[in-house]
Amino acid sequence: MMIIITAALFATVLGALLALVIGATARAFAVETDTRVETITEMLPGVNCGGCGYAGCADFAKAVVEGRTIPSQCPVSTSVHITRIAEYLGITAGEKEKVFAVIHCGGSCTVTVRSPYNGVGDCRSAALVAGGAKGCDFGCIGFASCARACPFDAIEMRDGLAVVHPELCVGCGKCVDTCPKNLITLAPAAVDVHVYCSSPEKGPVKLKVCKAACIACRKCVKAADSETQMTVNGFLVATNYSNPPLPDLVEKAACPTKALRLATKHAAGAYEGVSK
């Protein structure tokens, strides 16, 4: 009986002493934490792709709480995510245009001239050796660095050419930084007509190395509804994303090298093989 009482007493005293120690430490070294940052980090999709421009979802959450950015900056978040976060913080969700990546090159292995290459199978490394193994100095090298960088597996390598699947792409922009030839731009998701060539060389020079090059014949410029829908820059034509043409332009213009394509059909492989 006495043993039980003594033991209980001792344990209680020890417990109380330790509790005092812990309490004093907690008081002395108190830390202010904003729990909102953690909650919002949980609310985000959590891919850590960096598409928002911040170093990961936790960093983005901190920026949102501090008011440095708006929830819709996150390209991966759906409207459900964004409204939840906005409601939690009591702010407006904000608008952000949906974009997707376009790789402006149609130079697959069948249509381009290539040299045998035996080195590191990575675009950024290959670009340091002779600018890559393809005849065109400006085209897609084809070693899938962008496909590997994509956190959403939206880029497929088809016959040595990188192709973006618009329905999978969220526009995070990781591929843009990876491409050593700077072929990738982020275009508005609503636009489907793009020019799949980035070489500024003269038409005949381009055709010698790639059958799918844009030769700046201007057929698409003339066939467009308005003069400004397709812009010409030297020997290269590009879609004007502020005043884009309608998808029927591809059929109307009948591009002789099939450099003018619809992104959705390009992703489905409709432009394999070129008529020239």
């Binding site: 009986m1 006495m2 043993i3 003594t6 033991a7 344990a11 330790l18 509790a19 070294f29 108190a30």
Partner: protein, 200 residues
Amino acid sequence: MSNNILAITVGAILVNNFVLSKILGICPFLGVSKKLETALGMSGAVIFVMTLSSLVMALIDKYVLSQTFMLAGTVIKLRFLEILIFIVVIAALVQVVEIILQKFSPPLYKALGIFLPLITTNCAVLGAAELNVKAGRGIIESTIFGTCSAIGFALALILFSSLRERLDLAKVPAPFQGTAIALITAGILAMVFMGFSGLV
């Protein structure tokens, strides 16, 4: 006395290394050793906890648990409270470490994550205290044993995390990737430390 101290030191750090010879404290050994910075942080925390807990436990052991009390005619021996008391003290110390770490190094606190409170159930800490009791060491020697065991733990952890950082770069065959190759490496490291046996 000094010979004894040297024997304790070398014994605890090298010959009877807690992680690699006694196989105690494996949880943080595998869980925190992916990066050198977290390994260093964990080592610091463990050294602090083990030193203090060894000291406190040695005191409690000498003045409470080993004593025989006479109360109201009954002979009372409190040896049976040993494990309970030890765990409670360790838990309190770990809580203190957590609070201080969260204040002074939030990134390390986040990096260690769940493994920080797991020091409480780390058998290495409890093991050190138990071994002290079993060996009947004095207060100072117990504390030294505690510190040196923790230094041995830190040594194993730092070596292993450096190895794992290098392993990360290598092309490990698919069946061995991840924990498998880490455990094989730990085994080889343990074999290496066997070379110290007979030193003390």
